[in-house]
Amino acid sequence: MSLKKLKLGSLITVLFVVLVSRVGQAFVFTDPTELYSTTIWDQWVYQSHHSNDQITVFYGEGDYDLLYFESLGRVSDGSLEAWAQRALRLYEEPGGLKDFQLEMPLTVIDVAGQTGLSCGYSYLDERDNQLWEYRVFLILPGGRGFSIALSTGDAWLEDGSPLEDILRQWRWLF
């Protein structure tokens, strides 16, 4: 066996172990209001104190790692794009997010058959720590708004969205 083949074999083994361990360390979370379900990694801890019928919150391992899904009321902006743009405008305005910077423009994505708009932005928290947030806006049948957000203190946006696993496993329960 050549050294090259050995290296490739080792790499595949490592990737396999990582993937298997990752699958083994995830759990299926079903929204108590039976709106959706998805797979969440074990490192993410459900926060019952911060969650209610409208919002579900998970804390990750990092100091600022936060994952939350929010079910909102009826949106009357006319379109998903208009709603997302209004939200981003309000985040940018006084009273919104400090030093708001849109890092990734609104992009159309599919979340288990529902069209959504994703974007990424950064801002400063009260202690002037820079936070990055990846957000998906959705308008569900009936006109209700829905949002999926993941925030962190690391500039992961350059490496693509870590939400991909969650979105890939996403299922709507309606």
Binding site: R74, V75, G95, D125, F137, A149, S151
Partner: protein
Amino acid sequence: MAVVILKHARAAKCFVLSLTVLVLVGMASSFVAAAPLGAGFERTLGNSAVSEILKQYGGEYVLPLHQRLWVEEVFRRLVGATDRKDVVYSLTILNSSELNAFSLPGGYVFITRGLVNSIGYDEAKLAAVLGHEVAHIEQKHGVNAVFRQMGLTVLLEMGVMALDLATADLFRIASHTLLQLVNLGWGREAELEADLIGQTLAVKAGFDGAGAVRLLDDLFGVPSEELPMKIFRTHPDTEVRRKRLEENLASYWSTPVVVRDQDVLERLDGGRNFPLDRRIDPTNRYVISLPLEGSGLQVFDQQTSRISVWLEDVLVQDFAWSPQGKYLAVLVGDEPQTQLWICDRWGRVTREVRIELAIADMCWSPQGNQVAMSVYGPSGEHVLVTYVDADIIFAVGEGLSGGVAWLDSGVYFENEGKWYHASAPKVEGVTIPNPVPQVLQKQRILSPSVVREGTTIRLTRPSLTMP
């Protein structure tokens, strides 16, 4: 001919002058009584003081996005419940840590960020403050107070100026008087009236009218010098005002009527209205029973398989879990000295309801924040409603004492084989129309604080709040 014409002209001028003075006297008198001026005049008068108010209170403050949307929605609902449609209402948050709120004629309502933040997200309390201020505008208290204050002065000045009328001067004087008065309040009668009208506005807008009472309770604990808020500071009869607001809560309930709906009657005969059903912990953790003899409550914790006694040495007659399992209502003591105690879900007493009447029955509201009781005593038979977290009691039914149940829309009480129903005012939570997703941040791990109690040291559990 020319002389005659001249004479006629002089006579006409004299006549016009006299007429004008008479009109002005009439106007000034009526200002004092009812200020029958249009909304445009009120708006201009109020607007003349806005910049000075902003200067005095550090300018306008922009609340964080979601807090702003929440405050605006409470205000929008209140304004929707007003009768005066000729007024354009606006709300300004002032950049001051003072606990203060006030209004100016013409629809200008102000509240400081200090008061907004101290209220937190309690919409009933915010509706009470803003409702009080909107009531001043609805009743034209500000403009009436200004003209009452300046009435004679204006009359003299206007009499001297006669035909000039000098609108600009009138505004100058009125605006100056307005600024002097705004920090003092519009007078005792006006404040009392604004209390009740503001409370009614809040109820009409779907808020709990008890918010006004709870707000006063909160502010009782604050030293008076820290209370610049005119509606709470300047009057020695704050307790009287609290009592009026508390008693007025009953007026928002409907008069009891006999229930004829068969479906309702069937519901009243089952479910959580039965004493045994309401003793089941909705979260299924605790199994509680009354001891066959002795006192207290026997508690079996299904999580730890431990048996303990709550309310040791207290004679317990009956108990009922709140529908969400957050509280336990307990009837204690021998008749006719029965009392209602409210415990948290770990058996700790959080409130003792003190009434001089015997309690025949009790039940929880579906929201688990109120308890209805049928009581009897020397003053007769009543159905009373009280709150879990506030010292508020009022009567919703008289001359009736028997079983009591609280279904969706209100309290039902039994008397001589018939059920009666009194509807509660409808309370709706705040829903932001056309909402915007929240932006949350991870809460830092909170350190417990160390409390020394004699020779022991106790660590307090840090309280967690929404980010």
